[in-house]
């Protein structure tokens, strides 16, 4: 039996890349890395938001101290009650007939503290220790009592002196007022940079595995009889990169939705701006690293060898992440008022312009808002130029290695052979 030859359209390079990217996308979006990764990340973000709310809740709940007064110290009860709202706690005062009664109440836990002695020299009985806030309040009341007594003895009106003291205030001139956005920018940038590092690492790894899996299953021999190596490589990078971008997007949106209501981020606008910068650097950084990872992975024939083959590239990514601290810390310092040492500032600028470091480092600097326009544009141009270089070099290594099975191929051989 034979089938009539159906019309076959010529396969344009664009359609070839589209078909390959579509397959990668469809496979990976159903894959473990995507589904489990997204669920875990969103769950962690939700957990973080819940914890934040709980912490805030605890801060807002003020503690109440039950304080008993006996003897002449009873005179301190009213002033303590009056002062407590401004001190951040509540008190429940009670008169205790005898000190001995009070002691047993403290021991039993029905009183937090017993104040005995005189108003000028109170004696405090507690079970295990005294709350610092309560202690400070009592000390201050006792001092005021001594002061008032001395003032009266000197013939001055304590009330008049007190009102004079209250009138004293500090005038503050802020030369560079820090806005919430400035303070949060570098922190958001740092979080974004970590996400970039993580995503480039994870999805770059997926590319490397995918390249070698095709080589190991030999399906690449069939594929390369109908598409060119560069098309196959590009299709993989596009398809897998899109999955990474979607996951990054879902996590970023969930992060904003969960975290904004907690009030941790004062200005969601700044965060959205940082996410936009992050997406751009993810795309550029991913393409740069994915091409390098795919090229080095194609040198080996077995999936177990991928991680050792890609060590130089993954080390580069780890170094980038370590450098992120060098960049992030002065960036945070700079906006929170600390002076940037000139040497470190220059180092930071230079490092963030070196293409393999640029995506992660620039996302921090840009979020901090300290990057001049020309530097930003230069860094983008440099990364694009290095992507072009890596595409040429990577496609050459890939094309020369992808059909050579068996032992690991030397990088120099992969570059030299043109067959």
């Amino acid at each position: 039996m034979s089938f009539a030859s159906p019309e076959r359209a010529a396969l344009s390079p664009r359609r070839a890349v589209y078909l390959i990217a579509r397959r990668e996308f469809a496979t990976r979006i159903r894959g473990k890395v995507f589904i489990i990764g997204t669920i875990v990340a969103v769950a962690l973000l939700a957990l973080y938001a819940v914890l934040q709310l709980a912490v805030i809740d605890r801060i807002n709940t003020t503690t109440t101290f039950k304080v008993g007064f006996s003897g002449s110290a009873t005179a301190l009860a009213q002033p303590l009650e009056a002062a407590s709202p401004s001190l951040g706690f509540k008190v429940h005062v009670s008169d205790i007939a005898t000190a001995a009664q009070g002691r047993s109440a403290v021991r039993a836990g029905s009183l937090d503290a017993l104040v005995d002695g005189t108003p000028g020299a109170p004696q405090v009985v507690v079970k295990t220790g005294i709350d610092p806030a309560l202690q400070a309040a009592l000390v201050s009341l006792a001092k005021q009592n001594v002061l008032s007594a001395d003032l009266s003895a000197a013939g001055l009106s304590p009330a008049a002196v007190e009102s004079q003291i209250d009138a004293v205030s500090l005038r503050i001139d802020t030369l560079q007022p820090a806005t919430a956005a400035q303070l949060q920018g570098p922190i958001i940038g740092f979080v974004m940079a970590f996400a970039l590092y993580l995503f480039i690492g994870i999805y770059g790894g997926v590319i490397g595995q995918g390249v070698v899996a095709e080589k190991a299953s030999r399906v690449v021999e069939i594929l390369l009889s109908t598409v060119q190596p560069g098309q196959l490589l590009l299709g993989k990078v596009v398809g897998i990169g899109l999955v990474g971008l979607i996951q990054l997007g879902i996590i970023a949106v969930c992060g904003l939705l969960f975290i904004v209501p907690t009030g941790v981020l004062a200005l969601p606008g700044a965060a959205i701006g940082a996410v936009a910068i992050g997406v751009m650097w993810f795309v550029l950084g991913f393409v740069l690293y994915a091409l390098m990872l795919a090229a080095t992975a194609s040198l080996v024939s077995r999936v177990e060898e991928v991680s050792s083959a890609t060590v130089p590239v993954s080390m580069l990514l780890v170094v980038t992440w370590l450098l992120a601290y060098v960049v992030a810390i002065p960036a945070i310092d700079a906006v929170s008022g600390g002076a940037v040492s000139p040497g470190l500032g220059t180092l930071t600028t230079v490092l963030s312009l070196i293409p393999p470091f640029t995506p992660v480092l620039m996302s921090i600097r840009m979020a901090a808002g300290e990057v001049p326009l020309w530097e930003g544009l230069l860094s983008i141009v440099l990364v694009l130029a290095s992507i072009a270089g890596v595409t040429w070099l990577g496609a050459r290594i890939y094309a020369n290695s992808i059909l050579r099975f068996g032992a690991r191929i030397k990088l120099t051989d992969a570059l030299r052979r043109s067959s």
């Binding site: 159906p6 076959r8 010529a10 070839a16 397959r23 030999r218 399906v219 109908t226 059909l403």
Partner: protein
């Protein structure tokens, strides 16, 4: 149709110091089943990879329809590599459709063709399964479907029969025959020489990168010196050696296998045999492809 010929013209390929192919030439005509036989390492797989463009030749040319083969014409070749290769965890139909689309088919045509070929190869109900869930033989059928479903003009199959059970061998043979009958050039390699002999229109015997003999099995036979089995019980030992141009190749009891030079006459041999007494058997020995293969491969000095 006449110009639809796959020509391999003086193709050479070296791997370092090893000459894998040395000016190898042969052609596969439209509608022809060409069997490619040779010892391991002779260069069969290398030749096929060069035809498919997954390997570049150092010298020589592969032509299709008289023109050097290009990337576009290669898309019209159905290929089954020596090492089977498909995506293990992808669905059977899904990857067939994908591969057909990569060969330029539109999705609806690709889906229809995948369904037809799976049905034809007895895998009609397995399309939804992952490839790795199928047995080795069934995976090979899927591999054949992958090579066939975009209706190629040429089929290049590296060891399509290896690892198949007899039923699958019959299915594969029938499919290849019918593809050739439909006008497709089919080139395949195999170590199963009996099968090649039965199935192929022409055979090429390759060793150490050189084509030693190519043609129909009949033509290959005619190239070798004719041999006759003669059963002459009354003959003295060594009788055949006295006939001009005749050599005794083997003696089995009263039977002698005699090889004649092309100039010698079989009638002279018969008369010489009759002169010794009664002759019970006088039969032309037609060598099988296996015998031809052995004699060709061992006679020629190694390059």
């Amino acid at each position: 149709m006449a110009d639809r010929v796959l020509e391999i013209d003086r193709v050479s390929k070296r791997y370092g110091s090893v000459a894998a192919l040395q000016e190898l030439s042969f052609e596969v005509r439209a509608g022809e089943l060409f069997g490619f036989v040779g010892p391991n390492g002779a260069g069969k797989t290398t030749t096929m990879r060069i035809v498919l463009g997954v390997l570049a030749a150092d010298a020589g040319e592969v032509r299709w329809g008289g023109a050097p083969i290009t990337f576009a014409t290669r898309r019209r070749i159905g290929y089954m590599p020596e090492e089977r290769g498909l995506y293990p965890s992808m669905g059977v139909t899904e990857q067939l459709v994908y591969l057909a689309e990569l060969h330029g088919m539109r999705a609806p045509d690709a889906r229809a063709a995948a369904a037809r070929w799976l049905e034809r190869l007895g895998l009609g109900d397995r399309g939804g399964e992952q490839l790795q869930k199928l047995s080795q033989g069934n995976q090979q059928r899927v591999q054949l479907a992958a090579a066939l479903l975009f209706s190629p003009d040429v089929l290049v199959l590296d060891e399509p029969f290896s690892g198949l059970d007899p039923v699958a061998v019959d299915v594969m043979s029938a499919v290849l025959r019918e593809q050739a009958d439909a006008g497709i050039s089919v080139l395949f390699s195999s170590h199963q020489l009996e099968l090649v002999e039965q199935l192929c229109d022409r055979v090429g015997i390759i060793r150490a990168g050189r084509m030693l003999a190519a043609g129909s099995v009949e033509e290959l036979r005619s190239g070798s010196a004719p041999r006759y089995w003669v059963d002459a019980p009354g003959a003295a030992a060594g009788w055949a050696g006295e006939v001009a141009g005749a050599t005794a190749v083997r003696v089995e009891g009263s039977r002698t296998l005699v090889e004649l030079q092309t100039t010698a006459s079989d009638q002279v041999l018969l008369q010489a045999a009759l002169a010794t007494g009664p002759v019970r058997e006088f039969r032309r020995d037609t060598p099988t492809l296996s015998e031809l293969f052995r004699s060709v491969v061992t006679e020629e000095p190694a390059a």
